[in-house]
Symmetry: C2
Subunit: 218 residues, 2 copies
DNA sequence: ATAAAAGTTTAGATTAGTCTAAAAAATAAT
DNA sequence: ATTATTTTTTAGACTAATCTAAACTTTTAT
């Protein structure tokens, strides 16, 4: 069984590794947990010896399958508790995080399964984040290729199909990153290009080819 | 703010001091927390320096007003959570204690007030133990002088009016202690003495004078 | 390509909570 | 009332989590 502190490090590493494919760096973890790099190095060794992460000196860490499962169970608890606080106890969405940070460390699988049932097996928390099921599976949001997105519907970038440097550089340039808000304002029939507002900025044109390689969700 | 461990020591001292008037001894605390006397001595000094208990070497500890308020707030949380687990999540009464031992240490006054409201401000937990209100006040069970108790009604000793050694020695002899089950089987009109079964033992006579000094509740 | 800067790890200390063993005090027994 | 027993405290050590400062790698810049 992990300690409160070990759970927090594992969760942090999980979140930092989400989306990205690169190893998570010591300083990133230190920053996210408001602690010092030296402290992180010690904890990294500990989690590594428990085979929850893979660690190579100076190069950062990657989470293992076992570590990911554990991290997901903590995320599940956090999001179920947030849902409980908002839906049953009438908390405001901005009041729940701190309390859920504590509640997520309660150890009782019976409790969490009964809570899940009490809440009607929700699949997303009040912030819209997906709640992993008891096996750690996250209900995949239906992703849509930006090219096929409805006009004037607020959407969020969740993935790219093409990982080539040139494409990624282009995306950075126009402000597209994972999680960015996008709105298709017009579809040009002639060449399939789109007029898109990114992060509420002025609409700009992007090519059909680019729009075929960006995935969005609600 | 107290640590998880400090809270557990304080709660234990509170429970051990309940009912009794004597100081709580080091070994009693050690036994109730499954720890060693030496460890208890250290923690006693710490709680004493925070003015939550009064400590005199070799003589044991007494809880202060401030300590009692804090202990009551932990008891309140424990019992509200137990009530939640049974009433809302359908736990069996024997499944709740361990989980409530964890939940009682969550720090959030907003959470506990909203939970209290959600549960309809209950005054007793599933075991029948009273739930202190937010000011630490416990709804006083109606106590009855044993002399006036109904015949053949199961009752429990909750206090004595007279603390003299001779009376207490007498009570010990006949098996009466705080919490003991008692049943008045007959009231002798002639001298006001009672025939009483204590802890399901054979009924025995006790004097009117004794019966006037024993308090019972349901 | 070498020097400077940035990031990471090691070394050594600190605090909270715990333990065992020995010393000290209180209680019980002869 | 002196000795024996029990209880409590002190002393010293250990683990987990943390820190600062120094040493070591890697990356960046000239």
């Amino acid at each position: 069984m992990l300690s409160y502190t070990e759970e927090n490090y594992l969760k942090s590493i999980y979140h930092l590794s989400e989306g990205g494919t690169k190893a998570v760096l010591t300083n990133e973890i230190a920053a996210s947990l408001n602690t010092k790099a030296a402290t992180v190095t010690d904890m990294i060794k500990k989690l590594s010896s428990k085979e929850l992460i893979e660690y190579e000196k100076y190069y950062g860490v990657n989470i293992t399958k076992k570590g990911k499962q554990l991290a997901l169970s903590i995320v599940r608890k956090h999001r179920l508790w947030e849902t409980f606080l908002v839906q049953k106890l009438n908390f405001q969405w901005d009041q729940v995080h701190e309390v859920a940070e504590q509640l997520e460390h309660i150890h009782s699988s019976l409790l969490i399964e009964k809570l899940d049932e009490f809440l009607g097996h929700p699949t997303a928390d009040p912030h819209g984040h997906p709640i992993p099921d008891k096996n750690g599976r996250i209900k995949q949001e239906k992703q849509v290729v930006l090219k096929d997105a409805l006009i004037n519907k607020t959407l969020y970038v969740c993935a790219v199909r093409n990982g080539s440097p040139s494409f990624l550089q282009y995306l950075s340039k126009i402000g597209v990153q994972i999680g960015a808000k996008v709105l298709v304002t017009e579809r040009i029939e002639f060449d399939g290009s789109l007029e898109v507002s990114i992060k509420d900025n002025n609409p700009q044109l992007i090519s059909r080819e680019a729009a075929e390689n960006i995935l969005v969700k609600e």
